[in-house]
């Protein structure tokens, strides 16, 4: 029908021949004048343009976009196509040269192609956004930071403003606001989730509820960020499902006049919410675990030491594994009740490493704390500790050094007892280094502990160093496989005469750490007990 009707018109209007082949082309073809009028058109074009006649100005036809494209005399043949719409359809118009400045336009329907291109572009943008959003969301395990990221990304990509509501903590509702400029504010509100329809259900997390559109008028003031320009046009509440725990809810706001959410956008928002919820719940699980760990760890961490009753104490500790903060080495200082009473120091090493060993060190430290009133008799303390360890039904044993220190005039008097542990080293003022004459059996194995206590005295500037074998058994050095060894430790200590306690500890720790390079394999603990110079320094008496 079409072909015959257009064919008959062709015959009526113009001569046929190769130059007129466009008249029979299956696609619409129009000829335009340099003046922007329709000079001629084929049958397909007549059908498309519904009655447009030659001579009509292009501006009066659905092809007005062609006039705008080439207002001047016709383009050269072969220049690129011009795109435009006719009704519901999209066309690409390819120009070829015509007679006397006319242009012949071949209109190819590319509606489906354009739609596919648009869909592809949008899909690419979304997946690119989801990928970069996931990177940002997964980066931090900090709850506040994650809330901020979720709010900022939602406000920038999903709505004009976003409000992230975290599950209530006590009476407070933690709320994070973001506008499209990227400005983020955090508030802890005394508000109720019930104020916003659907928010309570969304915050419960499980079972997951679908996104819910609510009437903007039902929104309380606190759910709209400060400085949100104009009335709220549309609002959606989306739950943020986490790892089996409620992670929060997202309120997305759009202004009046801005298009409400399309189906595609809503699906997209849900995909984002899933990732955001996973990130938020990971962060809150991490922070909860970290809090529990910190609390449990507090008593296992080595204490900070300082000067007590005229005696300097300093300690240093380094766990074997980079990730660990505690291990099988430990130390403690219990200050004497008065200046003339002994302070009690313990440094020890439980066999094993890591958290299991650390838990046993905690038990030993607690037991020794309880035995403090008996600290005048080291042998008795060790035997009572031995009994306690044997009754724990823990097959592990421990070695330790007990030290009781008290100021005696300018000097410091020390009682030292080793139980299967390397003997403390005494650093004398003249640089001599000598092991204390104490020895004994380790605790937690035999029914009784035998020990010999040494009594020593430190002059000002002298130090007694308690250390674990992690120092002397550190492996490394310039040749890579040597033990640091007691000899090297003693040599290092000859330089430490007259140093403050913390400097001795730092020096020993530093040398041992540098010896191993990065390959530390054992816990290391050091405690220095130092007799300070009266007045803080040796002054002129140092003989400078």
């Amino acid at each position: 029908m079409q072909a015959s009707s257009s064919g008959s018109q062709d015959v009526d209007r113009a001569p046929s021949g190769p130059a007129q082949a466009w008249r029979n082309a299956p696609c619409p073809v129009v000829v335009t004048t340099g003046g922007g009028a329709l000079a001629d058109l084929n049958g397909a074009a007549e059908l498309l343009l519904a009655g447009a006649r030659p001579g009509t100005p292009l501006a009066g036809t659905p092809l007005s976009w062609l006039a705008g494209a080439h207002p001047a005399p016709g383009p050269d043949a072969g220049s690129g196509p011009v795109g435009g719409r006719v009704g519901e359809r999209s066309f690409a118009a390819y120009p070829t040269g015509g007679d006397g400045g006319d242009t012949v336009w071949w209109l190819l329907d590319d509606t489906e192609e354009q739609a596919a291109r648009t869909a592809l572009r949008e899909e690419r943008e979304r997946s690119a956004f989801l990928a970069s959003a996931s990177d940002e969301l997964l980066a931090s395990l900090n709850v506040d930071r994650s809330m901020e990221t979720v709010a900022r990304l939602s406000a920038r990509h999903l709505a004009d403003a976003a409000v992230v509501v975290a599950p209530p903590s006590g009476r407070w509702l933690p709320v994070t606001y973001a506008d499209s400029s990227g400005e983020v504010t955090f508030r802890r509100l005394g508000a109720q989730a019930e104020d916003v329809p659907g928010l309570r259900e969304a915050l419960q997390g499980f079972p997951p509820v679908p996104s819910r559109w609510i009437d903007p008028a039902a929104l309380p003031d606190w759910a709209v960020p400060e400085g949100f320009a104009g009335p709220v046009g549309s609002v959606v509440i989306t739950p943020l499902p986490g790892h089996g725990v409620p992670a929060g809810a997202l309120i997305l706001l759009r202004r009046s006049g801005t298009a409400a959410f399309s189906d595609g956008e809503e699906t997209f928002a849900r995909l984002f919410a899933t990732r955001a919820g996973a990130a938020l719940s990971a962060a809150s699980l991490y922070s909860e675990q970290a809090r529990v760990t910190r609390t449990l760890m507090r008593d296992l961490l080595p204490p900070r030491l300082r000067q007590v009753h005229g005696v300097e104490f300093a300690g240093g500790y380094r766990a074997a594994e980079h990730r660990e903060r505690v291990g099988g080495d430990f130390y403690d200082v219990h200050p004497g009740g008065a200046a003339d009473q002994e302070s009690f120091v313990v440094l020890g090493d439980v066999c094993g490493k890591g958290l299991d060993a650390a838990v046993l060190t905690g038990k030993i430290r607690n037991t020794l704390h309880a035995l403090l009133p008996l600290a005048g008799d080291h042998d008795r303390v060790l035997n009572l500790l031995n009994d306690a360890l044997l009754s724990l039904q823990d097959t592990r044993f421990a070695t330790l050094v007990l030290a009781s220190a008290v100021r005696d005039g300018e000097r410091v008097r020390l009682r030292l007892t080793s139980a299967g542990h390397p003997a403390p080293l005494l650093v004398r003022a003249d640089g001599r280094v000598e092991p204390a004459e104490t020895h004994g059996s380790l605790v937690g194995v035999l029914p009784a502990v035998r020990s010999v206590t040494a009594e020593v005295s430190l002059a000002p500037g002298e130090t007694c160093l308690l250390y674990t074998d992690g120092i002397t058994e550190a492996r490394g050095g310039p040749f890579g496989d040597e033990l640091f060894g007691e000899e090297r430790l003693q040599e290092a200590l000859t330089e430490c005469a007259g140093m403050p306690a913390e400097a001795v500890v730092e020096r020993v720790q530093m040398l041992a750490a540098q010896w191993t390079g990065g390959g530390r394999k054992d816990d290391m603990a050091v405690v220095a007990v130092t007799a300070p110079y009266p007045g803080g320094g040796p002054g002129e008496r140092a003989g400078r």
Partner: protein
């Protein structure tokens, strides 16, 4: 919060110089005299005096304690102070910083944000970082000072837990640059910007740029200024983004030299003993020191390979030569060790380039000192006088 007289203005000069403008100079002299003889009471009095004259806390931290600590380092390098004296002086300076926090001038200014200050793993010189931490605290920051020698894993744990606005990382030794690089990228991966400072990052911060730190400051005031201006958060790129900033590492020379350090030290020791029979007479302690010095040379060669920077190695050699000379050890003992190392690493073009440049730097430094005496006389020296550290 009120800004009392002790609060530093973050932009302009910290405080107008009060009457008796020689107060800081006098305080420096007093503090130096006190830490030199380990006089704790004198040291505390020395830093309180300028505060009582009206100087602010920042001036005392940065214009009294910091220069005195820098002098301690110079005196040690010049062999005018023993290791023990250096450690004692440093410990005393550290105590003095602690004692200052009780002074009324130590009250923090208007609250800002939160910042973590830490030393890179393997970095034991904590005082510069501590001074920065104190300066930031007085300026109103909530500061978490993590101290010396912080493993990256602990640092990252801390950042996850506290979510600070930025982290300031300190490192003095260029050999820690690969570790610093790891720490910087780890912090950035969780969206925390990193400011770095310390001699490790180069005099102009060139290595800070190389490892992609978000900011570098030559001193604590500069660092405080940058933090006050605000560092943008790095946008995390997701896990497993390859590091393509240092493409030359593909030649594996850095990895090989770093991993085979013990063998390289052993081989160079052997070579030196063949070349200088006198070394056979060395005692255990002397051999030990020689080996440790050689290990240092290899460490710095590795750092120069990591940064692909000849100057890093050359500067280290010139500095080492100065330290050796001040201890009466001829620095020409370095040259044969470098030549032996170049021979062992003959298949490593970048290592050879760096070693050759290092020898040239040493020669140039000697030329500057000797005023025209021809360098490179090493082989003419009688072996008996040769001593490597």
């Amino acid at each position: 919060m009120s800004t009392g007289p002790g609060t530093a203005d973050p932009v302009g000069p910290p405080h107008p110089p009060p009457a008796g403008a020689d107060g800081l100079e006098a305080a420096r002299t007093r503090l130096w005299e006190a830490v030199r003889v380990r006089d704790a009471e004198g040291a505390t009095a020395a830093v309180h005096a300028p505060l009582d004259q009206g100087y602010d806390m920042e001036s005392v931290l940065l214009d009294v304690i910091a220069p005195v600590q820098a002098r301690v380092g110079r005196e040690w390098a010049g062999n005018r102070m023993t290791v023990a004296e250096e450690h004692a002086a440093t410990a005393l300076n550290d105590r003095v910083v602690g004692a200052l926090s009780a002074h009324p001038a130590s009250r923090p200014g208007a609250p800002r944000g939160r910042v973590a200050v830490a030393c890179v793993d393997g970095e034991w010189h904590a005082l510069p970082a501590r001074l920065l931490a104190e300066v930031l605290r007085v300026r109103g920051w909530e500061v978490d000072f993590l101290g010396a020698h912080v493993p990256s894993a602990h640092l990252v744990d801390h950042l996850h837990t506290t979510g600070p606005d930025a982290v300031a990382l300190s490192s003095s030794l260029a050999t820690r640059l690969p570790t610093a690089h790891a720490a910087v990228t780890a912090c950035q991966a969780i969206g925390v910007p990193v400011l770095v400072g310390g001699a490790a990052f180069g005099a102009e911060g060139q290595y800070a740029r190389l490892i992609g730190a978000d900011a570098w400051a030559p001193d604590a005031r500069g660092a405080a200024g940058l933090l006050a201006a605000g560092l943008p958060r790095p946008v995390p790129k997701g896990g497993g983004q390859p590091v393509d900033a240092l493409p030359y590492l593909a030649d594996q020379e850095y990895t090989m030299v770093g991993r085979t350090r013990p063998r390289l030290v052993r081989q160079v020791m052997g070579g030196l003993e063949t070349r200088f029979p006198a070394m056979a007479e060395y005692g255990a302690a002397q051999r030990q020191r020689t080996a440790e010095d050689l290990a240092h040379v290899v460490d710095f060669l590795a750092a120069a390979l990591y940064t692909d920077d000849d100057r890093l190695f050359g500067d280290f050699l010139v500095w080492t030569a100065g330290v050796l000379n001040s201890r009466g050890v001829p620095d020409r003992s370095l040259d044969p060790a470098l030549e032996l190392l170049a021979g062992i690493l003959q298949d490593f073009p970048r290592s050879n380039r760096i070693l050759a440049a290092g020898l040239a730097s040493l020669a140039a430094a000697r030329g500057a000192v000797d005023e025209g005496r021809p360098p490179g006389r090493t082989t003419e020296n009688p072996p008996e006088t040769e001593e490597f550290a």
